[in-house]
Symmetry: C2
């Protein structure tokens, strides 16, 4: 639902078919877009008018569906997390490369306009080298309506795959060099929703930069207050609605939770979300370069230089998440973009895995080594 | 100068003598307090009317002067950092213990009233176990007037000893259990002031809590904006004075820097600072317990519980830094307080050392091991 406006708006995209488990979603799709709704993915993949597939299914289906789509010769845009294991990501990235097909992982907040702008400023070296990134986000993630697998770590549930994947994408974009190590502690501290709901991590990069990433999905402090009460999705937020997610969840109960989640998906009876006046964001982020700090906001970038502080405004979004469609359509057309491709998604997933391993091992974990160890294993 | 109001205000303290290298400071002291100014520390320590000594000298003098004072039978209040090496701190803590004399390390922001209140709330377990602390502080530390040794890492210069000592004290107070490891990256990125000016660190604690600490002293982004523009010293701050520290420093030059620094010490010709309307603070701090987050402010504590958000106000300070004198006077009187004693200061210094070692080694460093290794070495 959140990416649909971008799909509709992009001149290079025609919605030519869809598949879903729910017949009512397929029926609505056919009515709205005049295109077939298929009962299974296999049937959809046999449709030769379809060039590319957008996969927005539960995390643990991403790998098998992406591989099937690539085998059928379709380009793929797959939601983050790319999959639930590094092994799967390696297979997906490899399959796309071998088939010469586009594979883009997104949307994620790594595509946010202010991230893109700040990353360009870092890359320009206008403010010297990037040395430190400080990122924190305190949300109600754990108390939004969830399908059971979203809270099941074995199926890619919890905040590391869903949320660290965003924060890592953002920080990787900003620093622009490979991650050399992650030291992290994950935490699971609500017996009602037993899954990793928070983490704190220190990331190191080639070239010496370091990043601090903190995240809590336990709906207490809300760091959107540091972003002018603009929500993650770019909507204006009312700070007086404190505790709303937790209260709603308590009111609707476990069964209500499933229908609330379903209502928010395509074909559900929930309202479509209003057009967001601001860009999306992923919490409070300071990028420290040698000669300036930058604070990323959904309205622009505050640049704190040696002598002056200036605000670099960013034009409001015409349509949310347009950047991911731009990148995907360019990749399908064979134009070089390559930013959030399969290799990128694989690396971000290796960082998520490293984050979890570091917490259980109590040491730094190098995400590059996770990937090369698997490559060696596969070669045997 | 910053602690003088608390020394004057405390009914248990009489300023009975002083020593300083500058005759004009001694003369002013005698005029103001009707007590002798001594040309050397040895002479002061021979004054049998003096029970206790407050040592506020450059960092690399703390150890030798503290040990001399303890040998002379004086109780000691020594500024942080306690010394410039863990070896020295071990000797100081041991000497105080053996002599049965009070040794308190302070003031530091670990004494701040909101830290004390939040630490009590954590210890009460009212909100369940403490799981995560997020602390960041972006200041102009590197561009305030400095004596040369304050920027010389070999003499305890740079932000780790001066500033991480505060942040570590705060976080240790809040969590209330021993530090088991530190993973950190320190950074030195201004060739005009070559010293560690920033760091980011992940600390782990017995019981499983973790803390993220980030600090930059490079005077770009100012995190006091997250504290209602109240300065570290509890004064109201004008956000329009952006870049003031750096501009002043450029204007006065290296020689001007030395006289500017001297003007701010006792006997200098700088103005005495105005009474602060708010408590001191050390940046943005969120304490995450199982059932609530707490945000520490110089005016009180925002408590974000499961269902409600409440503000727990803290009465404004009657006199700044009163808490350190309360603790010191109590310790001198033999009453158990023991919070910021020699052992505490030793442990905080071991954390500072661990932070630096972790950055150069690229691994976790256990501050407890730094201390026990030295004890074994000393025993040989």
């Amino acid at each position: 639902m959140l990416t649909l406006p971008a799909l509709i708006a992009h001149p290079g995209v025609v919605l030519a078919g869809a598949t879903d488990l729910r017949p009512e979603a397929l029926q609505r799709f056919s009515e709205e877009f005049g295109a077939p709704g298929y009962a299974t993915l296999d049937e959809l993949l046999q449709d030769e008018t379809i060039d590319a597939v957008y996969i927005a299914t539960p995390h643990d289906l991403h790998a098998v569906q992406t591989l099937a789509a690539l085998r059928a010769g379709k380009h793929v845009l797959v939601e983050k997390p790319m999959a639930t294991s590094v092994e799967d990501c390696l297979a997906m990235a490899g399959a796309a490369r071998e088939a010469g097909l586009a594979l883009i992982v997104g949307p994620s907040h790594g595509f946010d306009e202010q991230v893109r702008t700040a990353a360009s400023l870092v890359a320009s070296r206008e403010f010297g080298q990037v040395r430190m990134v400080t990122a924190l986000n305190f949300t109600d993630f754990m108390f939004r309506p969830r399908r059971p697998e979203e809270l099941d770590p074995a199926r890619g549930g919890g905040v590391v795959f869903s949320q660290a994947a965003h924060q890592i994408d953002v920080v990787r974009r900003l620093v622009g060099s490979p991650v050399t190590g992650i030291r992290a502690v994950t935490a699971n501290w609500d017996s009602q929703r037993p899954s990793d709901g928070a983490y704190t991590a220190l990331m190191t990069f080639e070239g010496g930069a370091a990043a601090s990433l903190s995240y809590s999905g336990y709906a207490h402090y809300d760091s959107d207050e540091l972003l002018g009460w603009i929500s993650e999705l770019g909507q204006t937020k009312d700070p007086e609605l404190y505790g709303q997610a937790r209260r709603q969840l308590a009111r609707i109960g476990t069964e209500g939770e499933q229908s609330a989640k379903a209502a928010r998906t395509y074909g559900g009876d929930g309202p479509r979300s209003a057009k967001a006046p601001h860009h999306e964001h992923f919490g409070f982020i300071i990028v420290s370069c040698e000669k300036a700090d930058m604070k990323l906001l959904p309205t622009g970038i505050e640049i704190y230089e040696n002598e002056r502080r200036i605000f670099h405004p960013i034009a409001p979004p015409k349509v949310p998440r347009a950047a991911v469609l731009e990148e995907f359509v360019a990749a399908v057309a064979g134009r070089p973009t390559g930013l959030h491709d399969g290799q990128w998604g694989l690396e971000t997933m290796a960082c998520c895995r490293a984050l979890i391993m570091s917490s259980s091992q109590g040491t730094d974990v190098d995400p590059r080594k996770i990937i090369t160890d698997l490559q060696v294993e596969n070669f045997k």
